[in-house]
């Protein structure tokens, strides 16, 4: 399949916005490791932007407690199109350890992230290894190209 310059450029320079939605901060540390020398993500042209308006990839970590749930949606809407969202870590995908054993909803958790925003790529792990996050981002790029 031939790709236009537009589609190529999208995959060549994705900028990431990291949204921390509760959780234990472990995924955040692994994400920081992704941008540190050992798993340098900048070799793929990926940059970490602290500004939703500049970003293409919305990377969420954490189970999204009730207090942060509406804000998460609002920040997601601030990303200009085209955009993709990655749920990083078990908490973001299902709620992880914050779920109750009897499958009833936890009183403090506003959802797994999929309830709040449309998710495109799932990166399981608690925390996911940096390579796993990189693989997730690579999958997200394939989606981003065709947005």
């Amino acid at each position: 399949m031939r790709l236009g310059l537009k589609e190529k450029a999208r995959a060549y320079s994705p900028w990431i916005f990291h949204a921390h939605a509760g959780g234990c901060n472990n995924c955040d540390i692994e994400l920081a490791a992704c941008f540190a020398p050992r798993f340098d993500l900048e070799r793929m042209g990926i940059q970490l932007r602290n500004n939703p308006r500049h970003a293409d990839i919305f990377l969420v970590t954490g189970p999204a407690p009730k207090q942060i749930a509406p804000i998460l949606r609002r920040v997601y809407d601030q990303l200009p199109n085209p955009k993709v969202a990655i749920a990083c870590g078990s908490c973001a995908i299902t709620g992880g350890v914050y779920n109750r054993d009897d499958k009833k909803p936890n009183y403090a958790i506003g959802g797994p992230v999929e309830k709040l925003i449309p998710i495109d790529v799932l990166v399981p792990g608690c925390p996911p290894r940096p390579e796993s996050i990189i693989q997730g981002i690579m999958l997200a790029l394939e989606k981003l190209r065709h947005r």
Binding site: K8, A9, D40, M44, G45, N50, N51, H54, P80
Partner: protein, 334 residues
């Protein structure tokens, strides 16, 4: 001054494109070298074979891809902003910078640079860029944008003084305000980097402030104030700002080479030979700036201001004094 010929018009249209691509190479070099100095790899020159389907063959034109991607994105306008000003200020900066690029000689080639006051014109047009950023940041109605604009204004006052004084001390030594004339004066004698090193250092430090590299990236301090004046920009408008920054690197480096290194001219060699020298010198200057960028933490705005007054301004003024003394004692040399 004679009427502009078709060649001169064509060359002045062609020069901005050349300096844009130069700016992209310099931008890549800043990212790559600062990555290597932090023991990272930086954007790949050759992408591994298994990833070429997704990532292409090379990342050499990384800043260009950023710009193309941003051009194809949606731009969001904050509802509280002053929309006209917010939308137009990146374009004001773009116009300033394109015209300035037409005046800046790339390896001694520029028809507009032979205009008698071209140095003044370039300095004025470069002043337009931070001015437009300040307007855009203030119009965005975001606290980060406003803080960024304020810092940009303060920093501009600080770095613009040594920049202008250093440039004019060179003009004094060359006895001309035309960039082309300054290059020609150096071509026959020594470059001004050796004759007036004080002004050169002041000029380089001022350029670092102008490009918002590390010790002086106060206006765009990421993590501190989100992205400064460009916080609320996204999509196409941000792409324009990135283009402006790309141009700015090429213009500042080109101006430094023109003023202090004879535009790449080596005495005794042909004019055509200046093109590889120009490229080499440009990469070298960017390398030095990147070293400073990587080595230093960020100044606070008041520290940056005081430091700029204390070191580069004094250097620039002593450079000016040195230039006058030089003219007085070695009149034959000029």
């Amino acid at each position: 001054m004679e009427l502009p010929s078709t060649i001169s018009i064509a060359s002045s249209l062609f020069l901005p494109i050349v300096s844009f691509f130069l700016g992209i190479i310099y931008g890549y070099e800043i990212r790559k070298v600062s990555a290597r100095l932090q023991s990272r790899r930086g954007p790949w020159l050759l992408v591994p074979k298994s990833l070429r389907g997704t990532l292409g063959v090379t990342r050499l034109f990384q800043p260009l891809y950023d710009i193309i991607k941003l051009l194809c994105k949606e731009s969001l306008l904050p509802s509280t902003s002053t929309k006209g000003l917010f939308r137009s200020s990146p374009y004001i900066a773009l116009i300033c910078v394109i015209v300035a690029a037409a005046f800046t000689p790339v390896a001694t080639y520029s028809h507009l640079a032979s205009f008698e006051l071209s140095l003044v014109v370039i300095l004025y047009l470069l002043l337009g860029v931070p001015f437009a950023f300040i307007l855009g940041g203030a119009a965005s109605a975001s606290p980060w944008g406003v803080i960024g604009s304020q810092r940009e204004a303060e920093l501009m006052l600080a770095y613009e003084t040594p920049l202008v004084i250093a440039a004019f001390s060179i003009a004094t030594m060359a006895d001309s305000l035309s960039v082309q004339k300054i290059i020609d004066v150096q071509a026959t004698r020594l470059p001004f980097l050796l004759l007036n090193p004080l002004a050169a250092v002041a000029f380089l430090v001022a350029i670092i402030g102008k490009l918002h590299l590390k010790p002086f990236d106060v206006p765009e301090a990421e993590v501190e104030i989100v992205a400064g004046p460009v916080t609320e920009y996204g999509g196409r408008l941000l792409a324009i700002i990135e283009i402006v920054k790309t141009f700015l690197i090429a213009i500042c480096v080109g101006l430094f080479i023109a003023l202090f290194l004879a535009g790449g001219l080596v005495p005794g060699y042909d004019k055509l030979f200046s093109i590889p020298t120009f490229l080499l010198e440009g990469l070298l200057i960017v390398l030095v700036m990147t070293m400073i960028h990587t080595l230093n933490p960020r100044f606070r705005i008041d520290q940056a201001l005081i430091w700029y007054v204390r070191v580069p301004t004094i250097l620039a003024i002593s450079g000016l004094v040195w230039a006058y003394a030089f003219r007085h004692f070695f009149p034959a040399f000029i």
